[in-house]
Symmetry: C2
Subunit: 259 residues, 2 copies
Amino acid sequence: MSNSIAVIKIGGNVIDDNVKLTAFLQDFSKLKGPKILVHGGGKKSSQFSKEIGLTPTMHQGRRITDAATLDVVTMVYAGLINKNIVAQLQSLGCNALGMSGADGNAIQSVKRNHPEIDFGFVGDVEKVNTDFIQTQLSQGITPVFCAITHNKKGQLLNTNADTIASEVAASLSNAFEVVLHYCFEKKGVLQSVEDDDSVIPFIDTTSYKTLLDSGIIADGMLPKLKNCFDALNKGVQSVNIGLPAMINNASYPRTQIKL
Amino acid sequence: MSNSIAVIKIGGNVIDDNVKLTAFLQDFSKLKGPKILVHGGGKKSSQFSKEIGLTPTMHQGRRITDAATLDVVTMVYAGLINKNIVAQLQSLGCNALGMSGADGNAIQSVKRNHPEIDFGFVGDVEKVNTDFIQTQLSQGITPVFCAITHNKKGQLLNTNADTIASEVAASLSNAFEVVLHYCFEKKGVLQSVEDDDSVIPFIDTTSYKTLLDSGIIADGMLPKLKNCFDALNKGVQSVNIGLPAMINNASYPRTQIKL
C-alpha cells in the first residue's frame, strides 16, 4: 500500500484554548495527503450546562448523559466546536466537512447496556461506514468528526472521541496505511507524572503489562491506551500519543505504541 | 432535462413541534429522487439565549447577531436541530448529511454591510458550491442545510434560511429541473389573513405587483416572495408556498409562484 492517511484526535487542552487551537489547525491544514480530524468536547459543554442550571447527573461516581445533557453536548460538539473548526480549516485552504456519526450514517453505535449503571444516552461504536468516508476522502474532503453518533433508529448518542478515532482509523486500515495521533497535554506517556520530559518513547504489548502492573499507566491513560491497542489489533499501522506539535514534526517527542 | 430535484424549506412551525416535525420527515423521506432540506431555527435559540442570560441586541428595531448570539444559533441550528433531523431521517432510510455552509465550502456568504445598521454576524449568500452539492447528490446523499454559512475567512455567519433555499435551488437549476417548496404555517399566500382557506393559487409578476399595491402581501411575506421570485429569475422551474403536507400530494392546496 502506498497511500497513507493521518487520523488525528484532539481534546479539551487544544479546543479550550483559542491560540493553541489556531496553531494546531494551521499545522493540521499543512499535512499532505488525506487526513481526518476527531475532536472531543472540552469544557464548554459543562459551562453551558451550568449556565442553564443543569446539575450533572452522577451514578456511582460516573457521569450520566441524560436527555438535557445530550442536547447540550449535541449543541456544543456538533454545533459550536465542530463548525468553528470547519470554518477555520476552510480559511486555511483545507476542504473540511464536519460531521456527527449520524451524517451519512458515518458511525453507528449502540446505547450502552451496563449491568449496573445506566449511562443514559451514551453510545459504543458498532460500525463505521468506511465506504462513505473513503468516498468523501477521494473527493479531497477532510472529515471532521465530533463525539456524537447515532443508533440508526433516530437516537443521537454521546460517544467517546478517543474510541471514535480508534474505530475510524481501524476501518480505513485495509485501504490505507493509517497513522493515528492522539494529541493531549503531555509529550507522551510519562514514566513519572511529575517529570514532563520523562516520555516513554515506545510501548509494546509486553512493556504495557509491566507499566500496568507498576501503576505507571493509570487513571485516564488506561482507556486511552486501550483505544491505542484496539486500533493496532484491528490493523492500524502506527499509533502515537503526544503534544499536537508532533503531527508534522517527525523528530518531535512522542510515545509510539506498538503491538 | 429529465432529472428533477426537490428543495424544501421548513421553518419554526414545523421545527418547534415534534409531532409535526416527525410527520414532515416521514413525508420528506418518502419523496423519490434527489432532494435537499433547508431548515430555519425556530424558537429554541431564543429560549436558549434567555436561559443563559443573553439579552437580545436590537438596533433601530432590528435584531442584531452579536458574537454570543452567533454562538447560540450555531449551537442550536447546526448542532441540536440539524443533527436531530439527520438522525431521524437516517432512521427513515434517508441518507441525510447535515451541513452548514462552511462544510465542504457549500455556501459562502459575505458579512452584511448595511449603510445604517450593523447587523453583526449576519451573512448574505455570495456563492453556492454547486459541484460539491451535486457530487453528494450523485452518491445518494440528501443534504440537510442549516441557516449558518461562512465567509471562507474563518467566520461563521447567521444567514436567512429562505434565502439559502432560494440560492441552493437556483444553483442546481442548470443541472436539474428544480421544484422549490417553502413550507410554512398556512396553506399558501392568503387573500385575507383572517381566512385560512383564501389561498391565492397562482401569483405571477403582474399579480404580485397588484397584491403588493393592495397591501395583501406585507410584512413577513415580502422577503419570502422576494426569495421566490429571485429563485425563478435565476432559473428555478417551480416554486410553491404552503403547508408541509403539499410536498408529496400534488392536489394539496398551495400558492404557486410564476414569472
